[in-house]
């Protein structure tokens, strides 16, 4: 596989703050790669180590151990100004005393490029983010969304090999954030630059990424495409963090290949994809949209009786919150039920069906 050079390769990258042995481990032995021209996302809750990882890539912090290679070359001994990567900061961090054009041209100027080249590239970048009209303004005269575009142009102007984005959309309001998702994705395709994007917003990650690395407690939990991560979570953390889910305590009745027969309180014996590594007890995961209130092709009966506690109507989705006889909650997001003329009344008992392929068995207790 030597002919394939990845944009980034991380080998057992570790970052400890304070004492190397007993200090706070912000990142424990992260190993993964980012492909050339990929939109790669680091996804995790706050404190998961995603920002630390980004700062290690940018060169604002140094690794405690491990190796980071940028297109095959180790870079951990280089300081930030020597790395051909640029960053879009969470709060944009535009230089307040410079005009928009000066901000965008700063990187090229520091690289000692001729003034004419800088000016031409600045115009090109301002056109790319549709900010030409603002070239002589100051950052304080711009809205958040506009500052965001300038920050993008500034980071893209020196043609970095990898663009790092630190939660760049988190300061924007919802509408703008959604519009910017598409724009960022298009920008990545247009420039052909590898993007490494940090976010805590799983929807953002699923919508934009080619691949996602899910982090928690300084550990990479899973690396994969959005579908893979959603449909085949590697562990309970990922299953819980990405999307909505139901978790049920179950016993393993039998195993065959990659599947296991499981049974839990109030549910039928069902077949589940087995990720429990031989444990005799575990947690069954099934997503609300894989549960239905009627039988159908490819569905198996999941629970004989569930009592409707409440319905949550969101326009494009309707979720019934139900309780199994032992009190465990089961959320059901049934498309047919949404289209039904009349909602099911509270207190009524329903029969629950599941997509046969959907249930998944994990080791350990759910939340």
């Amino acid at each position: 596989m030597l002919d394939v050079t990845h944009a980034l390769e991380l080998d057992l990258v570790r970052k400890t703050y304070g004492d190397p042995l007993h200090g706070h481990q912000a990142l424990t032995g992260a190993s993964f790669h980012v492909k050339d021209n990929e939109f790669f996302t680091l996804l995790g809750p706050s404190g998961s180590g995603k920002t630390t990882l980004l700062r290690l890539l940018a060169g604002f912090e140094s690794t405690t151990s491990g190796e980071i290679r940028l297109y095959g070359k180790p870079i951990q001994s280089l300081v930030a100004e020597q790395r051909p990567v640029n960053t879009v900061f969470q709060q944009y961090s535009l230089f307040p005393h410079m005009t928009i054009a000066e901000n965008v041209g700063f990187g090229l100027k520091m690289q000692g490029r001729p003034a004419r080249e800088v000016a031409a590239r600045v115009e090109e970048m301002l056109a790319l983010v549709k900010m030409e009209a603002f070239r002589n303004r100051r950052p304080a005269q711009l809205s958040g969304g506009q500052q965001q575009r300038v920050a993008l142009a500034r980071a893209l102007a020196p043609k970095p090999k990898v663009l790092l984005l630190d939660e760049p959309l988190s300061a924007l309001d919802l509408k703008l954030r959604q519009a910017m998702r598409l724009e960022l994705k298009q920008l990545q395709a247009k420039t052909g630059i590898t993007f490494v994007f940090v976010t805590h917003d799983q929807e953002e990650a699923l919508a934009m990424s080619d691949r996602i690395a899910v982090l928690a407690d300084g550990v990479i939990q899973q690396v994969g495409g959005p579908r893979e991560i959603y449909d085949r979570p590697a562990n309970l953390f990922v299953a819980d963090f990405i999307g909505d889910n139901n978790f049920l305590k179950v016993e393993v009745l039998s195993r065959q290949g990659a599947t296991a027969m499981v049974r839990g309180a109030g549910i039928e014996a069902v077949q589940a994809r087995d990720a429990a590594q031989g444990a005799s007890q575990g947690t069954l995961m099934v997503r609300p949209e894989a549960l239905h209130l009627s039988a159908g092709e490819g569905r198996v009966r999941f629970a004989e009786k569930a009592r409707v506690l409440a319905d949550i109507y969101l326009g494009n989705a309707l979720t019934y919150v139900t309780a199994l006889p032992d009190g465990t909650h089961l959320n059901i997001r049934d498309e047919d039920a949404r289209r039904a003329a009349k909602p099911i009344a509270e207190g009524q008992t329903v029969e629950v069906w599941a997509d046969a392929e959907a249930p998944m068995l994990f080791d350990g207790a759910g939340k």
Binding site: A80, E81, T87, S93, F95, M110, R138
Partner: protein, 299 residues
């Protein structure tokens, strides 16, 4: 019409009244007196005689010979020049010392910042006379520094430290450093760490980060600190008097002498007016530069 808005304005103006009265009574009236005295004949026992005279101002540039004729004299101009020179040099030294200190403090964790700022202001807790006398104890021929160097055998006879321009500078720098540290710190505190990182990220080395990010951010603080240092230095009295031994006379000493030993109030008043004019000119230049910068931003 009495709308709530201009009622508010009225209340605001009424609130300004005590301060306005105070300024009028204790600043404008005495200042008017100073200007008035400078245009009156001197009474040889101190004070002024009624009448109008420009003698005081003529005395700044001319000295009267025994035969009553006038001759151009640079003696007082030299004092004006020395005042500007010493105040300017003090400002530069204070800036060189305070800029790194302010930057350093601003980069500490908040608790440590508070502590270090307290350290900076500690000299204010002691009276300036006492602090200046402390410098005499350090600098005089039998003082701590000469004593130490003699004991070490570095020197055989004491170095002339006291009663020099250098001693005056030391005293002034020591007195005014906090006035530079605090305004620059105020600017540096607001400079986000991520801006420095952004500059590094965009290929700026340490010097370039200082030149393009830190210095522009500090500049308003530098201007404020420089004015707070230069202007009081110009008229400073205690340091040149005690550390300069009265030989390195500055405007402050000159004014003081005219009102005490020399008993030439109009001349003292004229020098005070001269000092005021210099300060006002500096103020005007500053306003002009600030306006030009502001205009540049809008255009």
């Amino acid at each position: 019409m009495s709308t709530p808005a201009n009622q508010g304005k009225l209340a605001e103006r009424a609130g300004m009244l005590p301060a306005a009265l105070f300024v009028a009574a204790f600043l404008l009236v005495p200042l008017g007196l100073v200007v008035a005295y400078s245009f009156m004949p001197a009474n040889s026992f101190g004070g002024v005689d009624p009448g109008f005279s420009t003698d005081a101002y003529r005395n700044v540039l001319y000295e009267q010979r025994l035969d009553g004729s006038f001759r151009l004299s640079a003696a007082y101009l030299l004092i004006v020049w020395r005042s500007i020179y010493v105040a300017g040099l003090t400002t530069l030294i204070v800036l060189a010392i305070s800029l790194p200190v302010a930057i350093y403090i601003a980069r500490q964790v908040p608790r440590r910042r508070t502590f270090l700022l307290l350290m900076v202001t500690i000299p204010f807790w002691a009276n300036i006379l006492i602090r200046t006398f402390a410098w005499i104890l350090l600098l005089r021929d039998t003082g701590v520094i000469n004593g130490f160097l003699t004991a070490l055998g570095v020197i055989s006879s004491p170095l002339p430290l006291l009663n020099t321009t250098g001693a005056v500078l030391v005293g002034l720098v020591y007195t005014f450093a906090p006035f530079m540290v605090l305004p620059i710190y105020g600017r540096m505190e607001r400079l986000q760490q991520s801006q420095l990182e952004a500059a590094h990220d965009l290929y700026a080395n340490r010097w370039q980060v200082f030149r393009h990010i830190v210095w522009p951010a500090a500049l308003p603080g530098v201007v404020a600190g420089s004015l707070l240092t230069f202007i009081p230095c110009l008229g400073s009295l205690i340091a040149p008097e005690l550390l300069g031994g009265g030989k390195q006379m500055m405007l402050g000493n000159l004014i003081y002498r005219q009102f005490s030993e020399a008993r030439n109030w109009p001349f003292g008043a004229a020098i005070a007016v001269l000092l005021l004019v210099i300060v006002a000119l500096i103020g005007l230049v500053q306003v002009y530069l600030a306006r030009r910068k502001f205009a540049g931003k809008v255009a």
